[in-house]
Amino acid sequence: MKTPWQVMTGGDWLIVICLLGISLSGIAWLATAPGGTRVVVTSGGQTVFSAPLDLPQSVDLDGPLGPTHLVIDDQGVRITDSPCRAKICISMGPARHTGDLLACVPNRILVRIDSPAGGEEPYDLLSR
């Protein structure tokens, strides 16, 4: 009995190579897909800061009233200092799930957790 390799014709090999090529292209495309969860900060409709949620850092972001201080750590992202009067943004605590929002309305700073990969989160929106 002939082995599989012995019955393969040139055309068969061409098809197999094409299929392999398409599969590898797909894998390469998936590898270049958008990465992980990010913190995105906008002010006046413009993105003013973007960083991975898993990269601890702190940053001052300027708004009309002055700098809003943002900290990214193992709890998520949170506003720790703000020039606004009511400080509601600080009392909102950390955000860490895709779709979570923090905002300093007087200082026009909007912080959102974005996940381009669209992973399944425990909830779509947070009611608070």
């Binding site: 299929l19 909102m92 779509d124 929106l125």
Partner: protein, 331 residues
């Protein structure tokens, strides 16, 4: 036929099927946020064409902006500001009248726990600024003079104030109404899956691809914890809590949800979450239940068969209305 041909043909068919599947029109979802009505308004909408979604979402934001100019006390020429400045009331827009009618109804049903006449009291506490001190008791008593559901009357589009210095505040209902109207605009544009969230007052239209919307409810004392998750479809979810606008003095927490009988922050609850058919109703009920406290709040909810509530009492214990469990997602 050699035995390997069916194998290759099979592989080709699998590849064709995958290609066909990938070329199917994919459900798109857009998510836009703007700072409006003194909070963050976020709209998510799903559908097949991004351009159609963008148009619909822009129209919904425009509707919220239009209503803000009617219902907010921040705008000096809004209906609300004009009413507050007037001696005896005046004619208002149909939308303002609709909000007032619903608000007056909840005010009556709740025995005045929901109250749209606390404008002077709220100004006194300065919660829109950096509130950090308790007003004088005399000033609080003065701010409560002449307030209550009976101080305001509505006849068609005509509003009547009982006293000239009565100040209207729609903070406990206007945002919810604006969300309801934004949802109506999205529907007019043919959108069947959307969420509009104005600072925690939200409506969930339709569902996410293949499942209902899942809404996390913030734990009132543990900021990083979700108290419960609920699944809803074509319903509003509204939470009122004592943990976002507050200050502490001598170990006492002073927050922005006031008991109209005392002029001080209501003490019965830490948070109240309502599921209802409209955000405006949910908004008003959340405040009313918060003010009344857990037991009386649940009694109030019993009068609204299509509304359900989850209450975190002042001591941290949980209360819920009989139908709440149907929405709960198992942890």
């Amino acid at each position: 036929m050699p035995w390997n041909r069916p194998l290759i043909i099979g592989l080709l068919m699998v590849l064709l099927a995958l290609t066909w599947w990938r070329l199917q029109p994919e459900e798109k979802e857009i998510r836009r946020s703007r700072l409006m009505m003194g909070t963050v308004v976020e709209i998510m909408a799903g559908g097949l064409k991004t351009s159609k979604l963008e148009t619909a979402v822009d129209a919904a934001f425009a509707e919220i902006s239009r209503l803000d100019k009617l219902l907010s006390s921040y705008h000096l020429d809004s209906d609300v500001s004009r009413l507050s400045q007037s001696d005896g009331g005046g004619k208002v827009a149909a939308e303002t009248a609709e909000v007032l009618a619903l608000g007056l109804d909840v005010a009556q049903q709740s025995g005045g726990a929901f109250d749209m006449t606390l404008g002077r009291l709220k100004s006194l506490w300065h919660f829109d600024e950096e509130a950090s001190s308790v007003p004088e008791r005399g000033a609080i008593a003065a701010a409560l003079l002449g307030v209550g559901p009976a101080a305001l009357a509505l006849d068609g589009l005509e509003v009547y104030k009982q006293t000239p210095d009565l100040e209207i505040d729609l903070g406990g209902i206007a945002k919810g109404y604006a969300v309801d109207r934004a949802i109506a605009v999205l529907k007019e544009h043919g959108i069947t899956s959307a969420a509009v969230n104005a600072g925690g007052d939200m409506y969930l239209l339709g569902q996410r691809p293949k499942r209902p919307w899942r809404i996390g409810i913030q734990h009132p004392r543990q900021k990083e914890t979700v108290l419960e998750t609920v699944q809803v479809r074509d319903q509003a979810v509204v939470t009122s809590g004592d943990y976002e606008r507050f200050f502490e003095l001598d170990g006492i927490r002073y927050h922005h949800i006031f008991d109209p009988q005392t002029g001080f922050p209501a003490r019965g609850c830490q948070s109240v979450t309502i599921i209802a058919d409209s955000v405006a109703l949910g908004d008003a009920l959340a405040t009313a239940v918060f003010v009344k406290g857990p037991e009386a709040g649940l009694q109030l909810l019993a009068g609204y068969p299509r509304a359900e509530g989850l209450i975190v009492a002042a001591d941290g214990s949980l209360y819920s209305s009989p139908g709440w469990a149907a929405y709960r997602v198992a942890p």
